[in-house]
């Protein structure tokens, strides 16, 4: 039980590497940096394998293994108590704990595995770049966050990882921060993710309010207890809010816009974060909350519809993009749409299976693209590539395998998972989702077309690069090709884990996940949705003509897409024709400009573009606020000031003329006027006074004399 008891070491090892890089990275040699950062992740991979191995052997019933380290939020003092939705007292409590069950096992294995390979690849790819230690520090920090996200035993801890991977995504997209486009893309990713994160937080709080706990095991147990009715509006709200978070992180409509721009980061980052691991966090979170989603059919429908629409929407844009990484980015968005379609129709295991296979072949595609870019001296535009198959054979072979896998050609990995999703969509709700299947099927066709377009434009046709670039083309170093080879191996064989019963397989993958989703199957079954029952049973019920027919159709779609791309691009030379452009020029323009979604967002949400003379969105809100501030708030202030001044003027007038004038100066003036005659007697000359006195004396004398 060593590995299970010490499961906390798995996320902590990359955290150690990141800390080391943060404090001492600048002073370390490149070899030391590589050794530390690749070493920690490799060790984490070994520990993960050990932990999963021990888990599988010690928990035959696949009950979840939980290792609680300590209480992180909340305490025994009762300060964080509240009343739940149903009126029960509850205490908000979140632990730092690690949960290992089949679901997190799968994520743990492919995150550490693919992560390790990409770390090794990066030592070659980034060898000539500045900020080597910074890059690996961020990568290690990302691994820590992602592992925290996967292994957390409650929503709060998941959220820590969730934010951590968002931060690392931001840092790595903006790795070439001296490029404005890169820092803009980083900002865009971070801001769009914040919208989703807000939804996730609200969803988490709703769950805490509804269930009185944020611990996965407790929430799941309670949701499955049968006390909560299906379609409870609060649960529906919680599920939808969680899905908003998933939309942000996993790049679903309408929040997918950051992912194509995220290709500004170094290619290994695109492979690790924006294809294989981080963007599947939303799928993980929804799968982890399956007990809640099953109780909210409306939310499930939303997930399915959004997933299907995202799948075809992104695939359609991917048809005409010329930047090799952008094609892959839209492909990722599209494949994530598939995953959510699967989750939405209740085929959780199929969705997770697609995450698993997708991680390998999409990481391989990105790393292959990185190898191509490396060979092309940094050129990413496929119009300037061509005829690389002979010059970079290993890259070519591995990318060809990955393309076959994603196009759904048997027996490569993508075939099994995609076929499973399409089958489940076809059969779920007794066929009510057939139109979603149609969308999914169309997406499969497009996927095959744009992937083989990428392949032919890159590796076939005439060389379209400049002579100087052509001269420098070389196969990548061992550190890059070895991970490619390993991933190619996985892209071939990973799908075999889910070899369906209909093809005489045993579908180990679904069986392994059964304990996580089994209860859902039972709930769905109880509601008469037999089509959605868990993998094992389902296979037996639906092994029949329809399944073989669907399988045939799916393979046919892949082959048709391949054939179309082969016809159009196999001989591509300078100035080759895009078939879509030839057939429908306006459609091509719309697709090439990504359906003008970014522009639309700029008009409606950011307000960077004016709609007529009106500015909407955030900047519009800013304008409105500024107007409000200037005209209403300042108006009030100025109005108050004006009134005060007017009153003061009046008051001053009153004071000057009435109080001072009539009240104070009035009597004084009156006294002055009245006293004026008397003042005239006062000359100030003593002798005059004396004369008056004499006159008075004489007056008296004469008065008495003549009386």
């Amino acid at each position: 039980m060593f590995f299970l008891e010490n499961i906390w070491l798995i996320p902590l090892l990359p955290a150690f590497g990141a800390t080391l890089m943060f404090f001492f990275g600048r002073k370390l040699q490149k070899q030391t940096v590589s050794a530390v950062c690749v070493g920690t992740v490799a060790l984490a991979f070994v520990l993960s394998c050990g932990a999963v191995w021990q888990y599988v052997h010690n928990f035959p019933g696949s009950q979840p293994f939980e290792k609680v380290m300590y209480t992180w939020l909340g305490s025994d003092t009762g300060h964080l108590t509240y009343t739940t939705h149903d009126g029960f007292p509850a205490e908000f409590k979140a632990q730092v704990g690690f949960l290992l069950d089949p679901l997190s096992s799968i994520w743990l294995l492919f995150v550490t595995g693919v992560g390790m390979l990409i770390h090794i690849y990066s030592t070659g790819y980034m060898a000539h770049e500045g900020g080597y230690y910074r890059f690996f520090g961020y990568l290690n920090l990302f691994m820590f966050s992602m592992l925290t996200l996967i292994l957390g035993n409650n929503y709060a801890q998941l959220f820590v990882g969730w934010e951590g991977v968002g931060l690392c995504s931001y840092l790595l997209i903006g790795f070439y921060f001296h490029r404005k486009s890169a820092s803009d893309a980083a900002n865009k990713a971070f801001i769009v993710n914040r919208i989703g994160d807000a939804g996730f937080l609200l969803g988490m709080f709703t769950i805490a309010w509804h269930f009185g706990s944020v611990r996965f095991t407790e929430v799941t147990t309670m949701a499955r207890s049968g006390h909560f009715p299906v379609g409870d509006p609060v649960l529906t709200a919680a599920a939808l809010l969680l899905f908003v978070g998933a939309c942000g992180k996993s790049a679903q409509l309408p929040l997918y816009i950051w992912l194509p721009d995220a290709m500004e980061g170094p290619t290994p980052v695109s492979a690790l974060i924006h294809a294989a691991t981080m963007v599947t966090a939303g799928v993980y979170m929804v799968a982890r909350s399956n007990a809640i989603f099953v109780l909210a059919p409306t939310a499930m429908k939303t997930v399915a519809v959004v997933g299907a629409l995202t799948a075809i929407f992104a695939a359609s844009i991917g048809l005409v993009q010329n930047d090799i990484k952008r094609v892959l980015a839209y492909s990722t968005v599209s494949q994530l749409g598939y995953m959510f379609l699967a989750l939405g129709v209740g085929a959780f295991a199929a969705g997770v299976f697609h995450v698993f296979t997708h991680a390998f072949f999409k990481a391989l595609l990105f790393l292959g693209a990185g190898s191509v870019i490396h060979a092309m001296s940094g050129e990413q535009d496929m119009r300037n590539m061509g005829d690389l198959a002979r010059r970079t054979p290993l890259t070519y072979v591995t990318m060809f395998i990955a393309t076959l896998a994603i196009a759904g050609i048997p027996p490569f990995a993508g075939f099994f998972s995609k076929d499973e999703i399409l089958l489940q969509t076809w059969t779920s709700e007794h066929g009510a989702y057939i139109w979603l299947w149609v969308i999914g099927y169309g997406t499969a066709l497009m996927t095959a077309f744009y992937m083989f377009r990428l392949l032919y434009l890159t590796f076939y046709g005439q060389p379209r690069m400049s002579h100087e670039v052509e001269h420098h083309i070389h196969e990548s170093p061992k550190s890059m090709t070895v991970p490619l080879a390993i991933l190619a191996f996985c892209s071939i064989f990973a799908g075999w884990l889910g070899w369906p019963h209909s093809l005489k397989g045993s579908d180990h993958f679904a069986r392994f996940l059964e304990p996580v989703f089994a209860r859902e199957a039972r709930v769905l079954e109880a509601e008469g949705r037999a089509a959605q029952v868990a993998a094992g049973k389902r296979e037996e019920e639906h092994t029949g003509g329809a399944e073989y027919g669907l399988m045939f159709l799916a393979v046919a779609a892949g082959l048709v897409g391949w054939g179309m791309a082969w016809r159009a691009y196999r001989h591509a030379d300078k100035g080759y024709a895009e078939p879509i452009e030839v057939a429908a020029k306006p459609l091509h323009t719309a697709l090439y400009n990504k359906w003008y979604v970014d522009e639309g967002y700029d008009y409606v949400f950011t307000g960077r573009r004016k709609l007529g003379s009106v500015r909407l969105g955030i900047l519009g809100l800013g304008d409105a606020s500024a107007w409000f501030d200037v005209h209403v708030v300042d108006g009030l202030v100025n109005g108050t000031g004006w009134v005060t001044r007017a009153v003061a003027t009046l008051s001053k007038w009153w004071d000057t003329w009435i109080i001072d004038g009539i009240g104070v100066n009035g009597p004084a003036i009156l006294a002055r006027i009245l006293s004026y005659p008397f003042r005239l007697f006062e000359w100030g000359l003593v002798q005059w006074y004396a004369l008056v006195m004499v006159a008075g004396l004489l007056g008296f004398v004469f008065y008495y004399a003549w009386r």
């Binding site: 005239l680 000359l685 002798q687 004396a690 004369l691």
Partner: protein
Amino acid sequence: MRVRKTKSRRTEMTPVTTLHYLVVAAALFVLGVIGVLTRRNVVIVLMSVELILNAVNLNLVAFSRIWGLHGQVFAIFVITDAAAEAAVGLGILIAFFRNKETVNVDEVDLLKW
């Protein structure tokens, strides 16, 4: 000689009565008043005031022939009073001169409205 002659000429005239004194006092008083009213020099004005006071004294002494010694006692008081008044007046005069560099009363008319 001259005195004797005069004396001999006036032997038949009436003796000096109170009225005579009063006339002399009145004349003296009028001289004083005219002095006070007409002279500019403060010293002369003060001297004229002394004349007025002495005219009063003469009255008092003259009446004391009829009414007893009270008048004479009162005259002594008035003389004392006049001495004090002269002292105070001359003091004011010196302060006055120091400020104004003049002793003319008509050049001082500050004490008015």
